[in-house]
Symmetry: C2
């Protein structure tokens, strides 16, 4: 895999993944190319005819997009492991193989999250020394920044040493790709005192204290939105629940404002006037404005997005992949994991 | 303990518990009495002089409030078990003893949550057959109602059969006190399929299927705000994290709106005009408008509130206790737990 700063990145885009595929995927690819015309080369993987039709509608005339046919589709209802094993000619599996065979640098998909994880781990493969990759999901916080929940659901039932890996991978991602200096890590727990929580959290706390990471101790559920730390560390079972609750806030707010608007004409007017300001104030809470979440620890760049991603969301996922590529992410993660292993062995 | 519908309820109010004690506690008690003058009898427990001073300021002239002196205070920083054991003359311990000795029907406190739990369990005692009480915390949802997270943090590391108890207690609470018909219960998990999740969730799923409760299966983190079920069932470690994240939403929104308002004069004007509507639309998301959370499974009524509770919040906690008393909650919970045990033994 090549990755010098000024070279092109080749994106394998699972064009059949999302709920509005391939339309949103194709439009997202075109939007991304408008922003970074010299940086991107995009391979749209999926049903050739459908993709060509959407591409025609999108009126793209450049030469940076190509189509790679794949006859099958992995749906949201498919069992991840089974689907990746059996649907060899699915858009996701074909796209993952492009990365594996160095025909692409990044896999971008708004499809079945579990299947994207399985395809990344078993087709593209893990970085040497990584036992469990992690999903690092950005949640907007009060500090005009993001708190990354890690692991946000790549694995359930992780062990304390897996959490140390998650922290190492995520801290490296934030410092290398987003320039966050010495990212702070907090362990999600039911109280701040070291003695709080489960056997699992106490063991993780002890291991984290020994790392070179900027570990600040235990944090609570409120610290995610508050932005107390850059990284909120937890097992993927908990991370997935917290991520989905945080993401559902926007739908909750929309419904509440709508319900209030229905109470009177004045209320309707008030909400009508307020909506543009609310949207701007909560810009970062709209996942389409952010993009997706990286799966860290893979021997390539994987960006996983929401099934409901709009073209703007797909565009942002592609831009995220490009940013990670420019930072030479995979090699930086390799170095970080090696250093962490050396530290553990010498201590 | 007496509890006929039309009788008075005697509230033991920990007047030193909250961050603004005893001022907010005293004012809250007076507000509650203005709403239910014939229903309530309130015993303010704590520093006699300070309470008397606040009571004077509140200009209460009725005879439904009395003061019970307690010299010590359990703070937010105290270790719950240690504090309850050692501070025998603390406002919390004295208030809990009033319930134990049938001098009061309910314990209401905005103090150290862990200590309120310990005092309730070890002084007032559990209902026979209940191995673990549960905190059932209401989160507003899109269905103009509340989703109760249970257990929201009374215990960490609960077992599947504890969760069945939590569900039984919470469902009985909702149906008896709030008239929710056949409350639906969902098990918090990382996906809806029965096979998803941890060994722990699979075992809980199997046990829940066998109950007479309205168990609808697994739910995800988004279902809390969405209102898919009445009760979101989980271990207290997870419930505490989700509760605190949900509660921190309002502070996040305030900060985001403030940050946007600072971007321009027009933005400031927009937000200024929007705030009243936003506040009304999100009325239920303000914990002071709701009150507190019951600790269910105790041989008495316990309502736990936020340390930051305003007088309105204290008032609503007292009204919650009165509502539970009118529904003869403790006896209803006893019956429900007995029935559940009979079912288990006969099956």
């Amino acid at each position: 895999m090549s990755s010098p700063k000024n070279s092109e990145i080749r994106i394998a885009l699972d064009a059949m993944g999302g709920d509005f595929a391939p339309r949103n995927e194709v439009q997202g690819a075109v939007l991304a190319l408008r922003e970074l015309p010299d940086k991107l080369r995009i391979i749209l993987v999926g049903d050739e005819n459908k993709i060509a039709e959407e591409l025609k509608k999108a009126e793209y005339s450049g030469d940076k997009i190509q189509i790679r046919h794949a006859a099958e589709v992995i749906t949201m209802h498919d069992s991840p492991s089974k689907a990746v094993k059996e649907k060899k000619d699915s858009s996701l599996v074909v796209a993952a193989n492009l990365v594996k065979n160095d025909e692409a640098d990044a896999l971008v998909s708004a499809g079945n999250t579990g299947a994207v994880g399985v395809a990344s781990i078993f087709i593209i493969g893990r970085i040497k020394g990584v036992s469990r990759p992690t999903i690092a999901a950005p949640i907007p916080n009060e500090k005009r920044s993001f708190t990354y929940i890690s692991d946000a659901g790549a694995f359930v039932d992780s062990k304390p040493d897996h959490l140390v890996e998650f922290a190492t991978l995520t801290a490296t991602y934030l410092s290398e790709v987003y320039g966050v200096k010495n990212p702070s890590v907090g362990l999600l727990n039911v109280g701040e005192e070291e003695s709080k929580g489960l056997k699992f959290t106490k063991e993780t706390f002890d291991l984290m204290k020994k790392t070179d990471l900027n570990f600040i101790g235990n944090i609570e559920g409120r610290d995610i939105f508050k932005g107390t730390v850059d990284i909120a560390l937890c097992d993927g079972f908990i991370g997935n629940l917290l991520l989905k609750q945080a993401e559902s806030m926007l739908s909750f707010l929309k419904t509440k404002f709508k319900q209030y608007a229905e109470t009177s004409l004045i209320a309707k007017l008030q909400i009508g006037l307020a909506v543009p300001a609310i949207k701007k104030a909560l810009y970062d809470a709209d996942v389409d404005n952010v993009g997706g979440t990286p799966l860290l620890g893979i021997n390539g760049i994987t960006i996983i997005g929401h099934g409901s991603s709009k073209p703007k969301g797909i565009k942002n996922m592609i831009l995220q992949a490009a940013k990670a590529f420019d930072a030479d992410l995979v090699n930086k993660l390799k170095e970080a994991i090696e250093n962490e292993h050396e530290r553990t062995q010498s201590s």
